[in-house]
């Protein structure tokens, strides 16, 4: 219901009054290259690991606990392979997240949108900054990234897969 969203945002606890909660996320997914394929196959696989931080009250210590939208920051490492090319990248992203569940040990993202950038190194010879964007769903995620190399955009790619929280207890899951 749209008014539920409006009410949640309007009456949410200010972010600066909420405690921080961290999450360790590991993921595995399918990688699709969106650009020219002269040196690689279209599809491959990727694995990733991330540290996430949100600002949210704990259900254990807040009598009127409710799920609240929250800023999220994330540092992520991703290694991908499609026949012909390997790459390894480190990126940082910021955005907004709505948790599916929150407990003392962490949380499970219910939905999120993030953007950011980082650095990548690839066996195709490219090395340099990247621009990334991500959306997260429950236990899942999709991410696009493109490398800036030799003055041009290079190797745009999409990855879709599972995103599994490691640190969250499952009190409300």
């Amino acid at each position: 219901m749209w008014w539920a969203w409006v009410g949640t945002v309007a009456y949410a606890t200010p972010v600066w009054e909420r405690p921080m909660k961290d999450n360790v996320v590991v993921g595995i997914g399918v990688l699709a290259h969106l650009g020219p394929l002269d040196d690689r196959k279209r599809f491959g696989v990727e694995v990733d690991g991330a540290l996430q931080r949100i600002w949210h009250d704990s259900p254990y210590y807040t009598p009127d606990f409710r799920l609240e939208p929250t800023p999220v920051v994330q540092a992520q490492w991703q290694v991908g392979w499609s026949p012909g090319v390997w790459f390894s990248e480190l990126n940082g992203q910021v955005g907004a997240l709505y948790p599916m569940t929150v407990a003392d040990g962490g949380y499970v993202p219910g939905g999120a949108a993030m953007g950011g950038g980082g650095l990548v190194l690839s066996t195709d010879g490219s090395v340099g900054p990247i621009v990334t964007g991500s959306v997260l769903g429950p236990l899942s995620g999709a991410r696009v990234a493109v490398t800036r190399w030799q003055g041009a955009w290079h190797a745009p790619r999409l990855s879709v897969g599972l995103q599994l929280p490691v640190t969250c207890c499952s009190y409300y899951l």
Partner: protein
């Protein structure tokens, strides 16, 4: 985390003979904690002697005109120094082996293997990337590193940590 210079153990063919790199890792260090009662006082202390040390580690370095990266694990034996009772320590002498995925902008991908010798704040490594074509990008790395965590000071003498547990 640390930084190092890279000396390629291969022909550099006119390229710069020395490169540079950085290291980031997380080490789990085992040590032995002992306790006893001396003259009626319960005492807890940590023994500083070689013990298992392991954890994830990653390196990024420039060698022979290309960027290289490895991400893997380290396993070895290390002598922890100044072990704190809450688990923090300073690295002492250590020997270890590392293995992980190695990638390079030269197109190389394979198993990056390294042998490591460390002293307090200094490190030396010998390694290369094992590929189906053999060992490539062999190198010697010499550098320094520092722990980002540090032992805490002993707690005050009236701390509960110095009191004997029930039955001790």
């Amino acid at each position: 985390m640390g930084a190092h210079v890279v000396v390629p153990l291969e022909a550099t063919e006119g390229r710069r003979p020395v490169g540079v790199g950085v290291d980031v890792g997380y080490q789990v260090q085992w040590y032995t904690q002992r306790s006893g009662r001396f003259d009626g006082t319960f005492v807890v202390w940590a023994e500083e002697h070689p013990a298992w040390s392991y954890g994830p580690v990653t390196h990024l370095w420039w060698q022979s005109g290309h960027w290289h990266h490895s991400l893997g694990a380290r396993f070895g034996v290390a002598w922890p120094l100044r072990v704190g009772l809450d688990g923090d320590w300073w690295p002492g002498p250590a020997v270890a082996a590392e293995a992980g995925l190695g990638l390079s902008t030269s197109g190389v991908s394979g198993l990056d293997v390294q042998g490591v010798v460390e002293g307090p704040w200094v490190q030396g490594r010998v390694g290369g990337v094992v590929t189906p074509q053999g060992l490539v990008a062999p190198r010697l790395q010499l550098g320094a590193f520092t722990p980002l965590g540090a032992p805490s000071n002993p707690p005050p003498f009236d701390s509960d940590q110095w009191k004997a547990p029930d039955g001790a």
